[in-house]
Amino acid sequence: MHDAPPSRKVPFLNDPANRSIIYQTGVLLMVGVLSYYLISNTLANLDRQNIATGLGFLQKEASFEIGESPIRYSAADTYARALAVGVLNTLIVSFIGIALTVILGTLIGVARLSGNWLVSRIAAIYIEVFQDIPVLLQLFFWYAFFYEALPGPRQAVNPLSGVFLSNRGLVFAIPVYHPAYAGMGLALLIGGVAVLLLKRWAHKRQDRTGQTFPVLPVCLAVVAGLPVLTWWLAGAPTQMNVPVLKGFNFQGGLNISPEFSALLLGLVLYTAAFVAEVVRAGIQSVSRGQTEAAMAIGLKPGQILNLVILPQALRVIIPPLTSQMLNLTKNSSLAVAIGYPDFVSVAGTTINQTGQAIEGVALIMIVYLCFSLATSAFMNWYNKKMALVER
């Protein structure tokens, strides 16, 4: 080519833009063909097996019993209601589990850093042992423990009056319902709002005038005092619903089933080991100089923890803590293995009875995705609130 043009055009295939379009079309085409193949197979199979698609089955009668349910449920109710019971059970075990895990995990994480050699070693052993055993095995272990090691209801262990521990679960006395308790709940709510407003006001006043306000004692007094006052004003009801042994099991009181206890215990002990590591790493990430600086400007130990250490440690702790909370929620699906009626277990029964495998599995996935998204949205919001504010 003796006469090449000064601005030679890039060959079509060498242009990154064109290539990218070709690659993407290729990938999309592959995914499309694969999904078409799978979907057409599925439709043919469903057609052959006479399985109706769609969510119509949700309105049919479930006709299976669920061991424990926070809402009224009987076998005559619909599948939709059965699944709702499952969702609620999952939520209950996750919420209680997360709360207990955070408390236990923080304690163990702090114990791991303790200056006391014995405490620190015990925490280290706990973390290593519970992290390295599959959570499912731990669930089986506790479940078997509840059934084999604990006596029957007749010989139930009675550590406190009104509390019975047997292989039918933990039974304890609860107060008989009285309108005063609703009032106490309301009082607690009002107290909470009042405390928030008080804190904001105290903060503003301190910014304006420099005067501090004894927030903590006043808050405690308000939160604890209002419900007690309501209870006293409503006539101080003290009647308790005490469990009594009738026949082969207890009547009355509140019964926590062995399935629930085993699930909760297994999940909490397992996840707490991971949370402890997260907490330890978070506290270690705050350098010693911060504490010393805070001491130098004359803060009290409580203030050092509240105003200097925690805000910085939490920033490191929150993201991995979120993923541990999500892990706990996802691991609660192992309830199916020990017979606690969580969502996966109810959905599994539904799949077996109706044959609606695709819808059932899709429902499981959607519900857990919603849990995950909701938790991470909340934690992102909290994380943003705690994040470093550059001034």
Binding site: S20, Y23, Q24, V27, L28, V31, L38, N41, T42, A44, N45, L46, R48, S114, G115, N116, W117, L118, V119, I122, E128, V129, Q131, D132, I133, P134, V135, L136, L137, Q138, F140, F141, A144, F145, E148, A149, K330, N331, S333, L334, V336, A337, V344, G348, I351, A357, I358, G360, V361, I364, M365, Y368, L369, S372, L373
Partner: protein, 364 residues
Amino acid sequence: MQTVAPQSASTQLKPPVTSVGVIGWVKSNLFNGWFNSLLTLVCGYLIFRTVPPFFKWAVVDSLWFSTSEACRNADGACWSIIPANIRFITFGFFPSEQQWRPLLAMVILVVLLFYSQNRKRWRKSLAYIWALALVAMGLLMKGGLFGLPAVDSAQWGGLPLTLLLSVFGLTAAYPLGVVLALGRQSRMPAVKSLCVVYIELIRGVPLISLLFMSSVVFPLFLPEGVTVNNILRAQVAIILFTAAYIAEVVRGGLQGMSKGQYEAAESLGLNYYQTMRLIILPQALKIVIPPTVSILISAFKDTSLVVIIALFDLLKTTQSVLSDPQWRGFSNEAYIFIALIYFACCFFMSNYSRRLERELDTKY
């Protein structure tokens, strides 16, 4: 701390007896301050209340090689359940005269793992050795060649199955995870969004839902008459699940690479594949070795979930021994035994990861 003014160079005072040696150590580590002393006493009491009775149960009063009837009358632990059923717990339904094969496969695996522990041996030849060993292990399990009688995979079970699911699962999930991570970093919107959706979807759902999918939904995906055995289906579910987690870890490594590395590669005239293969991935994957090992540990633990879709892994074989009326009621002993197996494997891996972390910490 007491401060003693130096009197003279010749009369150096020795530290008091209470601040050196055993007494000093005890004083400064266990009894410094009233709170720590209290904690020590409480912990000591708890240990005193729990450890000796446990020791008595597990060692002193225990039975090791007895019948189950003898166990029922004993106070202590009945470890006899393990030796009496060790073959079934370890190998499941594998034909008993062929059980040397899974045993040999496991020995190969353990030897190779120990051999590859040393980073100096990480060469290309090691990868070939591993590939060869994996094929050999598969062959030993499956049989049907070289005069080995074929063993149907429905008969696989116990520890070999657990190891098989984890080793093959991880070997396959790792490259897939790397590809997904690269896809997520890609500048092509279609590829990127596909990878993001895949990774987030998988990470948002529990492994159980994927295992359910593999056992009840997957057969519907296949054309009529085609069946895939359930071990392979569970294996695929584990691979797809683990890959999403590996992808996120690898993405962390890719994001840790400085832009200069990409630019340097580009200025050398390397294309995308060369850049990734020669420059970026070797460095990025090295950074993320420790978190990758923790993914491997959790994947290993998660293989126990196949119990729920009724595969006979280590946990399930133990459970079926426990459902035998002869041995019913000794679940504590049996579960402690397999917990020890899992613990040993995971502890080995996590220790190794910690060591690697120290070795790889180049502090530049």
